[in-house]
Symmetry: C2
Subunit: 194 residues, 2 copies
Amino acid sequence: MSEGEAGLRARLVAAGVDLVLREGQSAVSLREIARRAGVSHGAPRRYFPTHVDLLSAIAREGFADLTARVEETLRAAGPDPRTRLVALARTYLDFAAAHHGMFELMFRHDLLASGRLRLRETSLPLFTLLVDLVAQARQPTDAPAPVLAGALWANLHGIAQLWAWGSLPLATGVTDDDTLLRAALDAHLGPAPH
Amino acid sequence: MSEGEAGLRARLVAAGVDLVLREGQSAVSLREIARRAGVSHGAPRRYFPTHVDLLSAIAREGFADLTARVEETLRAAGPDPRTRLVALARTYLDFAAAHHGMFELMFRHDLLASGRLRLRETSLPLFTLLVDLVAQARQPTDAPAPVLAGALWANLHGIAQLWAWGSLPLATGVTDDDTLLRAALDAHLGPAPH
DNA sequence: CACCACCAGTAGACAGCGTCTACGCCCGCC
DNA sequence: GGCGGGCGTAGACGCTGTCTACTGGTGGTG
């Protein structure tokens, strides 16, 4: 009845999100989440049959968060498609850098394999946003929008991943990912009009 | 003295490589590796103080393997830089697809953080190969070769990752990664002369 | 030739993990 | 007023990585 009574299911997910943001992927054990939610280690099982089920719910929260941030950014960006694409890309990279544990969790292969991630409801909306923008910004001679958007997304994702990994700054000698972001956008959409 | 006596250190790494290739990342527990190598679970500790030390050694083997495959491919490819780049990229994607467990292990963030991966000796040689080819293939107006190569590598890596992840085919509608590979190369190096 | 020091590998303990199962408690309904 | 059912507890199991005490064999030295 107290204000903290938000339903154990939601509390577990919230505790998990908090944990992965704060301590990283390795901290998100089932038992630690239960501890933080103030219940016994067996309690989560009623709502999440398996550890990966709980992790998937946490990762879905991550996708929702990222999508919300991107939409927020786009709301503030001007009408120019290219500018909007830069904003989207910047948000993606910032998210990956700021919430690296969550970002890792979101793209964990075993979660995907479990099928509980529901790509259609999580990552697809985000991708659709990208496809729309690409469709507006692309040149007539470019590849079809979905292919172009797919290649661009992969580029973004790779930058986020390898940048966090540290070998990209080491190898390229550049010290900020914005250089690579611009290079990627210029490459896929032609040089910036600017 | 028998032929099987290759030194426990090497046998452990070999068993780990075999295991990760065959069963995937989750199978590479310290104790399972020890079991496969025919020693007790405490034995690895003499050569690898920690589990991540052993995993790092396995991952380094993966980088060496990938590098060797790329060099082999390049040896067979013609002199045209663009053709050679396609060959390199294809090898990278094939490796990621065929040895997904190893590929994941190689880019695990906790291994990187342990410092035992030694990027300079493993991934840098590979990247240098790429930079050299890019330097030959790039247009004068393009970004500097290291930046261009970095962006291209990220693109490749992202394709490998997201393709294996499954959302790229789902989202783009394309059914083979070659389409995306070509799109990426065309984007970064200009349309193929063909 | 005897001894000893050393080193590789063994074996057991420990805490933590995910999963499973048997058990109580409490609330709402008949 | 009693009963049923869902929610959470608690303990067990086998597995994990790490730590520590130990043993057996081997090479060098007196």
